[in-house]
Point group: C2
Chain length 83, copies 2
């Protein structure tokens, strides 16, 4: 079965996000002062071939921990759907 | 009212994504061959102060078009929720 996983990897809440801060201040210059805070991370779409949703879930979890997310600075979350 | 927008900016389907290709082949080396394709983009969380959801939507739309997304190479999608 084929699954699609949508993974978000974001900087930890406790850490500064200089890229996000720069974009936040650029929003003011664009006349979009209503946008008061921005945090920037990565979004990844994974296509997974697995026997069932549980095994796809395990595979994506392992990929996040081993490769996609640096747990010292980032946190991840993901959602899986059958395609 | 305060809103939170979750924005995904991804490379256009028609374009190569070399970063995603590199990660895909690394998956094989990690024993995660079930992960057959990866595409990598950006995820942004925006906190928006606006009078209503429609005006928050317009603001985020404008931010995407003017700053967050390069329409030549990328596409965006977002979801807004009240916080």
């Amino acid at each position: 079965m084929k699954f699609k996983a949508e993974v978000d990897v974001m900087p930890l809440e406790a850490l500064l996000d200089p890229q996000g801060k720069a974009v936040t201040s650029a929003m003011g210059n664009l006349g979009l002062g209503g946008i008061q805070n921005v945090r920037i991370g990565k979004h990844m779409t994974l296509w997974v071939e697995a026997d069932n949703e549980q095994s796809a879930h395990q595979m994506v979890e392992e990929a996040c921990q081993k490769l996609l997310c640096n747990a010292i600075m980032e946190q991840y979350r993901f959602a899986i759907e059958k395609v």
